[in-house]
Point group: C2
Chain length 365, copies 2
């Protein structure tokens, strides 16, 4: 049976693979960029959800991790066998958390072992955090143009003052420049991010807050951040990259560190093949500007034109891979793909050398 040159032999497909050398390259490259720019790196762990990768990020100088949920924070700070220097001792729930009672209790327990910061975009949410005064810090979320959550820069000060009134330490302001996900959009998104954070920070400074953190960063815009514009960077996808990053021109295909090995199960008509990697392993994500539902690493002209739960329909020129042949598929959105599987197969020099559990899989609360 023929095999894609990237793939180890003998794989049972679909299989979600991490290429160790590419992962190390991506981790080191972002850490070096943050160093050179003088910005603290706080990678978003929702992408990988793996203790193994969190350790590596900490060893490379990350200030701590960003997470989306309290559950991710709990799991990713519970690594009892982390070697010295790789422990995650600082987490930021970079989300406008609604602090229901159970979450307050869990955050309280979490503060017993690590430094905890929580996002907020309303005085109402901040006020519910009162039982955590002196225990957690807050960051006020600002919308820099995405139109998701977050207040306007001018509204950041009232939210921060609500925290101050009840004795919560206010660390600063944060934003997510998700409008970077579009062709030609990353540079403008980085500029909007810097401007909104600067404006919000100025409002906080005027209101008497000192040393205001300015935290931003999406993977497409992260490397476009100017020195001094941000104090903290929170990219997530950069550890693996994906077809979106490649099609946005953020990275070359050679920097994609996670792929799904798939088998050609059907060749119904010339120019079309069907793979056994569907939306339940790749994720169904497809932004309107993407060229398909993912890419084939070694077949640059191929496009996934249809995706069902267990079928990827690929159109390509020429004979293409044969029935039974294995190909490496690059998902559109790697955060979705990782969350769909219990473990990742780590490939080093053509061999599967380890299996990493997706520790915080489905930790949605």
């Amino acid at each position: 049976m023929l095999v894609d040159p990237l793939l180890p032999v003998g794989l049972a497909t679909p299989a979600t693979l991490v290429f160790a050398d590419r992962l190390e390259h991506n981790l080191a490259s972002m850490a070096a960029f943050a160093d050179a720019t003088g910005v603290a790196l706080r990678p978003h762990a929702k992408t990988h959800k793996c203790l193994e990768i969190a350790r590596r990020q900490m060893l490379l100088g990350a200030r701590g991790l960003s997470v989306a949920t309290v559950g991710e924070a709990e799991i990713l700070t519970s690594d009892r066998s982390a070697p010295s220097g790789s422990e995650v001792d600082d987490v930021f729930v970079a989300y406008p958390l609604w602090p229901a009672d159970d979450l307050i209790a869990r955050l309280l327990r979490l503060t017993e072992r690590v430094r905890v910061t929580v996002g907020a975009d309303s005085s109402e949410a901040v006020e519910r955090l009162a039982p955590l005064a002196g225990r957690v810090r807050i960051m006020v979320e600002v919308d820099c143009g995405l139109g998701r959550s977050g207040v306007t820069p001018a509204e950041a000060a009232p939210v921060a003052r609500a925290g101050e009134r009840i004795g919560l330490e206010v660390s600063g302001v944060f934003t997510f420049p998700g409008q970077s996900y579009g062709p030609g959009a990353p540079a403008r998104a980085a500029a909007e991010e810097s401007a909104a954070l600067a404006e919000a920070a100025a409002f906080l400074t005027s209101a008497g807050f000192e040393s205001v953190e300015r935290s931003g960063g999406s993977s497409p815009s992260a490397r476009l951040v100017q020195p001094g514009a941000l104090t903290e960077l929170r990219p997530g996808v950069y550890v693996f990259n994906d077809a979106q990053q490649v099609e946005l021109g953020v990275v070359p295909m050679e920097d994609v560190a996670l792929m799904v090995a798939a088998t050609v199960v059907s060749r119904p008509v010339p120019g079309r093949i069907v793979l056994d990697a569907g939306s339940k392993v790749l994720g169904p994500d497809r932004p309107p500007w993407a060229s398909g539902y993912g890419r084939l690493a070694e077949w640059p002209d191929a496009r996934i034109v249809g995706l069902w739960e267990h079928h990827a329909v690929v159109e390509l020129e020429g004979p293409g891979p044969a029935l039974g042949e294995l190909v490496a598929v690059v998902p559109n959105h790697v955060c979705s793909a990782v969350n769909l599987v219990p473990e990742l197969l780590v490939v080093d020099r053509g061999l599967v050398v380890e299996r990493w559990k997706v520790d915080a899989r489905a930790a949605n609360r």
Copy 2:
């Protein structure tokens, strides 16, 4: 805190709920339709992946289950505590399986305890099934217009003969009329399905095959099948339904049996709210014809206009639900939503009465 009238109090969100009465209604209604139409029902279990629901389908007269993978077949036939009459003793892997060696070994073991049928759309795949001659039956996949896998009706006979040559029993032909997923499309899809299966079956009959099964069915087209057109029906989504089925006009919102409870975490500007149910619990599916990324059951005018991993951005008129309020979200594609969570919370008369494990979650091989 205000709560959606559908939702039990005290839920920690996001939570994936199954409404017991609606589930029973949907199961009984499709079983009654199959009875009345004289077609055997073989529900597709990829939607629910739950032993608890498989039992109910068998008790209601299902001939067996359809599955997408050998893994689903193994798990869903391994229910050692199934009450008499609810055991799954017959499975059809309704997929153009590429029979790699490990899958052949697993299928062989599976045939030791249940009746097994496997899909195929090439002579090459059929020939690899030789070690299973006398043990598994095959069904030849035909494309009725979807453009996914499957041969043309005329090509079904050569594939069937490849099976006959090596001693495999050929049960018949099957298709998936997935082109039913479009506004106004279900009726035409049902007609194309019947025509393609009839044509393929005629080719098999001419080639000497007897009692040729004609198996079809998608949830949008299932109830449009005419008596006598099919011998077997394989709908999956009907057990729960979802926003796609509602927006296609297949069922009313009252027949949606699975919803995700979510909390309003942000109200950044008038007319927009943000929920804590994102693509990691709803699934990122959004067909171009859908009105959004899902629906709010009790807020019919609301639309989910943006979806990120942990944010659903909802636009709606009027004041809308308050910060901290819970709402019930109907996913676009319930098969994606179920596969994202380890368990489903079963709601009966307003209370969570049971938790059902998603037994075959991520059983992608």
